[in-house]
Symmetry: C2
Subunit: 497 residues, 2 copies
């Protein structure tokens, strides 16, 4: 390496970021298009906000975490600090506060796009990822909360995730508050106190199981590494009630409501929470959403301070290729929050909504072999034999394109075999071949590359070979018709790549 | 204002940024979808890269400007400096250098997305805007250059910009170098010298006219404010030749080539440049691109150091609503460059491509009243009279959505008139009305809001009113059929909003 080489930068993507190539770009694009269709069917209209916001606009906390200002990519712009948006809710807050009455009320908007978090990257954990949010701002009606489930169920099913392969878990933060009222736990002050400790404990149910949560509700817990986490110091009776609450999930939603009603006792907020769940249940029935799609699950917390009413999360519950039941956590999260514009205006505005984690969903579907077929049109490749005939080759490409068929000339400098390899790598359906022989006779040879690929797998099937030759010769004037015939042989969709 | 209020942040979008609401989001989305279709028809495949790149990856200069490192939004990530991409070519360079042989060669990729520039914002000049790039990497063939014109012409026409309403101007940097050889102007050294001064002068032809350029080619020029710009100090004879070169544009492309051949004299690079233009002309003919679509224009420079061969720019040339000819500058720019990966690997790789400025194009089309109709589906609004009947209303929404019709319940707390206003503001096509009366009779009233809007404009037309009542009552069971009939009255597309 010469000293000059040492000065050269290494071409690499920043840590925690990634490039997407053709198949993945198409998969995401198709997923977004499907979600647009579903979201708009529910009356949500699109909004687009900038990648950067003033830091004060973003507020101090990421939702669903305790991370303070850190965790965002921030930079100075003249006098001001700006930061890349870390979610699509903070921009919505800003828009609602900024445009006020110019917006309809309620305001039903969706937004899709990347968000950025300056967090430690890990396997499958990127610092740039897409979110697809929909929210209804300015309503207290439980219809908006119940509809979240319908939007999501319709989205999943439109994406090819069948009923039974996903489950939505709904809870209401008011019910938990009612239970904590019922065990006479004091309210927190200034965002700190015993209730937050209980919430934190409950939030770890998935990871620690019932025993771990019990310990954290009581005196605390030592983890295998020797780290000690302080507990909420509840009495055994109090712990029993909280644990009974956590275990109240059964398949019948009305039974869950009945059980929760017992547990909240005479708490007013608890009663309100249960009544809201009952109303949601009725609305879910009206939308034909059964217990195999939506369950009431008191263990769902979803973040610590953010949500104020119903909350929802969604997971995939596929059997994988080995027949094992696998759960892909949290491809959907949402709920009701009332602090949307309070930071700006001092007023509470009720809002509710959810966010589908598109990149997580894509990863899950890919891991499960459930990706939709890539339906993007791959180009017919016109191979080049006679370099002084480029104008003639170009005319072929032009004819195909004018007929709506994706096509390109091979523009490299390599020979025929390399050109066919190139066409394969492009997943090209057809190669057009014209050498001096063909030009002389006014003919063109067409090679069916998809058939070639199939035949090389099942080469024994001699009959198919004869019936569907992988290569045909047609008159030059029949280029478009000939190519179209080969394209239609295999139907309009391609194999997944 | 209380002291507490003073602490509250003002909700505003960062300087130079903007929010897009429904109609504009849809317009951009549809434009991108059209470009995807055209780009893929030409065999370009999608690529997506992160918003952030290492600063060394981006290099020192913005293309088409002398701006150094400044001009980008940069921030520190641990030890490293990263910056938001300012174009889509720098990420392409990094990808080609990073993935090398894993990519096909040639590599034909397109990328669409926002880029960010920390420049002074102005009217219509934002710091975040979309670019749609397509490039062919790894070929010296003029086919790739000529195809740029076909991609763009097809894109514009697919976007509803008719032949005659746009013009593409093609030049070749080699020809200009040949002319500078012919007048015996010394080569620049280390990116500075007389040739750069000449380039800068030519680049100002649009703004200063022939006289201004003449002055800058000679002794220099004092502008009206008294600022003095030094000149290239060419002799009168040299200036005449450069001016003759600039004025060589005529409608016939072969005539331009003939004139340029005279001007480059015996310069080898000039001769090569003219031959390339001749080849491009032949290929343009093969793609049926006439002189009303593509001209050869020697005054096109497009940036100072970046391009090495053919360059192209595209402008719209609409007549505006007052019949005035207006030109919207530079909605398309591109050309051939060979320094793509040199910074990383030391090797030159030939590449050529172009970028459509989608946001500029949208602004131009909007200013010219040429925006496409908004074909997005707006929701049927189900008005709410009986608040204890939400489940029944929800069932109606669910039926409509299940039939593929966008629908929503009014979820605010206001009365009927306000609900209809809400529906109007949402551009809702139909309002569903069901009060106690309707529930009793098992009926539903449907209000045709688009007809209502039309009638209120032409209220004299009594007959139309009678034939197409703005309000109909149908049996509850016929909700979907009734709504569908009203939707189909006005065809499938809506008026532009």
């Amino acid at each position: 390496m010469s000293p000059q080489d040492a000065d050269r930068p290494t071409p690499k993507v920043p840590r925690g970021f990634r490039d997407l190539f053709a198949a993945d770009v198409v998969a995401r694009r198709e997923m977004l298009a499907t979600l647009v269709e579903v979201y708009e069917r529910f009356g949500f209209e699109p909004l687009d906000t900038p990648a950067l916001e003033y830091v004060e606009t973003l507020g101090k906390f990421l939702p669903e975490s305790d991370t303070p200002d850190g965790g965002v990519f921030a930079l100075r712009d003249d006098e001001d600090w700006v930061a890349m948006r870390y979610d699509l809710t903070a921009p919505l807050s800003r828009v609602v506060a900024q445009y006020g009455n110019q917006l309809t009320s309620p305001y039903r908007r969706y937004q899709m796009g990347p968000v950025w978090r300056q967090e430690k990257p890990g396997p499958g954990r990127y610092r740039e990822f897409y979110q697809c949010d929909f929210d209804t701002v300015g309503t207290e009606s439980m219809v908006a909360d119940a509809e979240i489930c319908s939007v999501v169920a319709n989205s999943f099913e439109a994406l090819g995730i069948d009923r039974g392969d996903y489950i939505l878990r709904v809870n209401n933060r008011k019910v938990l508050n009612g239970v904590l009222d019922a065990i006479a736990l004091p309210e927190d002050e200034a965002g700190q106190g015993p209730r937050l400790t209980v919430l934190r404990a409950i939030d770890k149910l998935d990871r620690l199981g019932g025993g771990g949560v019990r310990a954290l509700l009581g005196k605390g817990r030592m983890d295998p590494s020797g780290d000690y986490t302080g507990g909420a110091n509840l009495s055994p009776d109090q712990i029993d009630i909280v644990m009974a609450y956590l275990e109240a999930t059964v398949e019948d939603r009305t039974q869950v409501c009945a059980r929760l009603r017992e547990l909240v006792g005479s708490s007013a907020v608890g009663d309100e929470g249960v009544r809201e769940l009952e109303e949601i249940h009725e609305l879910l029935e009206a939308m034909d959403l059964g217990p195999d799609q939506v369950v009431f699950d008191p263990s769902v917390v979803r973040g610590l301070a953010y949500y104020s009413g119903p909350v929802v999360e969604g997971v995939l519950t596929f059997d994988d290729e080995d027949g094992e039941r696998r759960e892909f956590g949290s491809v959907l999260g949402g709920g009701r929050y009332d602090s949307l514009v309070e930071r700006f205006t001092g007023n509470k505005i009720p809002a509710t909504g959810a966010s589908i984690g598109v990149d997580r969903l894509l990863t899950a579907l890919k891991a499960l072999g459930r990706q939709n077929a890539d339906r993007s049109q791959r180009p017919v490749v016109i191979t080049v034999f006679e370099r002084d005939r480029m104008v003639d080759y170009q005319r072929m490409a032009n004819e195909l394109r004018s007929a709506g068929i994706a096509a390109e000339l091979y523009l490299g400098s390599k020979g025929f075999r390399a050109q066919l390899k190139y066409a394969d790598k492009r997943h090209s359906p057809v190669a057009v071949i014209a050498g001096s022989n063909e030009f002389e006779k006014g003919e063109i040879t067409l090679k069916d590359l998809r058939l070639g690929a199939k035949l090389s797998k099942t080469i024994k099937d001699r009959e198919a070979w004869t019936e569907q030759p992988a290569q045909v010769t047609v008159a030059r004037d029949n280029l478009v018709a000939g190519v179209r015939e080969l394209l239609e042989r295999h139907g309009s969709t391609e194999e997944p790549t």
